[in-house]
Amino acid sequence: MNTIAIRMNRVTFSYSNGAVLRDVDLCVQKGEMVGLIGPNGAGKTTLIRLISGILDARQGDIQLDGMDTKKLKRSTIAREVAVVPQQFNVPFAYKVEEVVMLGRTPFMKPWHDFSAKDRDVVVRTMDTVGIGRLARRCFSELSGGERQKVVLAMALAQETALLLLDEPTAHLDISHQVEILELLADMNEKGRLTIIAAMHDLNLASAYFRRLVLLKDGAVIADGSPGQVLTSSTIASAYSVPVHIQPHPLTGVPQVVVLPSGNGHR
């Protein structure tokens, strides 16, 4: 039994205008919950796109559960990896349950649309995420927090062992941020779901992820527990801002405090 969910060997990727990822080695065990952090443009989204097979690595190889992503069919990848993208909108008046049902697409066949099992999975994932009461609502009418939960439910309906999320808490208020992260932590612990999420909020990342990977200019510059990764020197070198790191008074995980220059309120 393979215990490694993802193995990336010296992966390099560039869009036409320059290198975005350089020589990235990354190994994620099954059941891990990994936070990807780093400044804008560091390559977090690109890394997620490479793992989900949307982009092909220029050099190096990526293995999903021991299989080379380049050799896998899209429908096979979609049964291994689900993705919650950063931006998401749906044209026309799709109902919430219809959007969640789209997560079952990898299991559908032309003559046999969806089965009783697909229906059960959709109902169950909507309950898990707590959007059962929204089932008949129109997706485009929902608030940002509700939409994010619908997209999460759709990804969970794919019933994959690996879930990738690109800034799942961006643009959400703190109650929705905490709700989403609690849900992910719960799925990780009880559902044995392997999770990789790009995160902007360093303190939330520190509070919820046991392992953080810090990217800068397309390279991994720190990888380990929040205590190892969130130090004032690594943060200063990645983000070029002075910060103070202090332990959380209740939980003890490192917290990042910005240091305003002379213009701040003292």
């Binding site: 979609a78 749906v90 026309f92 008046a93 969806f114 485009s140 794919q158």
Partner: protein
């Protein structure tokens, strides 16, 4: 999906089918010579089954119904079904509510083809088709190939490129068409027939043409329904569709080809009938929601019924003269659509 949704869809399909059958029979009954509704049914029955009614009608009526009106009515139904289905495919694929069967240039290609055909001698024919339908069909398909080729960069065909290429190629082909018309005395004199093609009008001469067009359109609709779940995934955007396991570039090519063949087959016998491919998909989406598994069959049937009604009005409003069916589709289609939009309004995000 709940059971009542499924039951509702089936009842909508059955209702639409019933409406279509009534429309077809009624359309065959009316015209310069009125044949009673019951006689039309009996004539059809006699033709289709071994058990026969004793004819109480004139044999000339039977000839009118079987050889003149029914081919035309069925032709209209096929054109309507093809255009409405193509509209659903293009709107779903391009995620663009303004999309219709002609959006990537099929109309301009077909018009140019038809114009060139009118320069050729009348006697040329193939499979019972004159040169106008043949070159309209070929022109529409050739244009799609050209647009697809122009829009392709690095193994991908971005939707924006396709829309822009379609727009530019359409403009060029339309200009070319008018250039040909203005330079040819023969066409200048025959401008009325070019105009008739542009405004749309069902032209079917007997069952031979139906026997060719019907399989293309019916198979096209069935394939579209078969792959409808893939079209649903395109609602997530191309990257989102890939995330749920769709081979995006391949599916895009397939749906594009399907929509284009349906459109080309429809315009070859119907000319450029507007509005059906835009309004019917939107109307059905308002009634049924955007799930393509229901939308495709219902739009096909509703499109067929709608065009049968419009074509009947076109040929009876000032009989024995004929109006262009495209005028009727716009005149009925627009108000119906506005009504549905105002009524369904809030929930329907165009």
């Amino acid at each position: 999906m709940r059971d009542f949704v499924r039951r509702r869809r089936i009842s909508v399909i059955l209702l639409l089918l019933a409406i279509l059958v009534i429309c077809v029979v009624a359309a065959a009954a009316v015209g310069t010579v009125y044949v009673p509704f019951a006689d039309v049914l009996k004539i059809c029955w006699n033709k289709l089954s071994p058990f026969n009614f004793t004819p109480t009608w004139r044999s000339v009526d039977e000839t009118i119904i079987l050889q003149v009106r029914l081919p035309r009515v069925i032709g209209g139904a096929l054109v309507g079904a093809g255009l409405a289905t193509a509209g659903v495919l293009f709107q779903g694929l391009l995620r663009n509510p303004m999309a219709d069967p002609y959006i990537i240039g099929t109309s301009a290609g077909a018009a140019l083809g038809a114009t060139v055909a009118m320069l050729l001698p009348l006697s040329m024919a193939f499979l019972g088709f004159g040169m106008v339908p043949l070159l309209a069909f070929a022109g529409a398909l050739a244009t799609v190939f050209l647009v697809y080729y122009l829009a392709r960069v690095g193994g991908k065909t971005p939707v924006v490129n396709m829309l822009l290429a379609g727009f530019v190629v359409s403009a060029m082909l339309t200009a070319l068409m008018f250039l040909i018309i203005s330079m040819s005395d023969k066409l200048y004199a025959k401008f009325h027939s070019v105009y008739a093609f542009l405004m749309g009008g069902i032209s079917v001469a007997g069952w031979g043409q139906i026997a060719v067009i019907a399989p293309i359109i019916v198979v096209g609709i069935l394939l579209a329904r078969l792959w409808a779940f893939r079209l649903n995934a395109f609602a997530l955007g191309e990257e989102g569709a890939a995330h749920v396991g769709i081979d995006v570039e391949r599916s895009k090519t397939v749906f594009l080809a399907l929509g284009s063949v349906l459109t080309a087959a429809a315009v070859s016998i119907g000319g450029l009938i507007g509005f059906v491919g835009l309004v019917i998909p939107h109307s059905m989406r308002l009634v049924l929601g955007p799930d393509h598994r229901a939308l495709i069959p219902c739009s096909a049937i509703a499109g067929a019924a709608f065009l049968v009604i419009a074509d009947t009005l076109a040929r009876t409003l000032h009989s024995p003269g004929e109006t262009h069916v495209g005028i009727i589709t716009a005149l009925i289609g627009a108000p119906v659509f506005i009504y549905l939009l105002r009524r369904g309004g809030k929930e329907y995000a165009l």
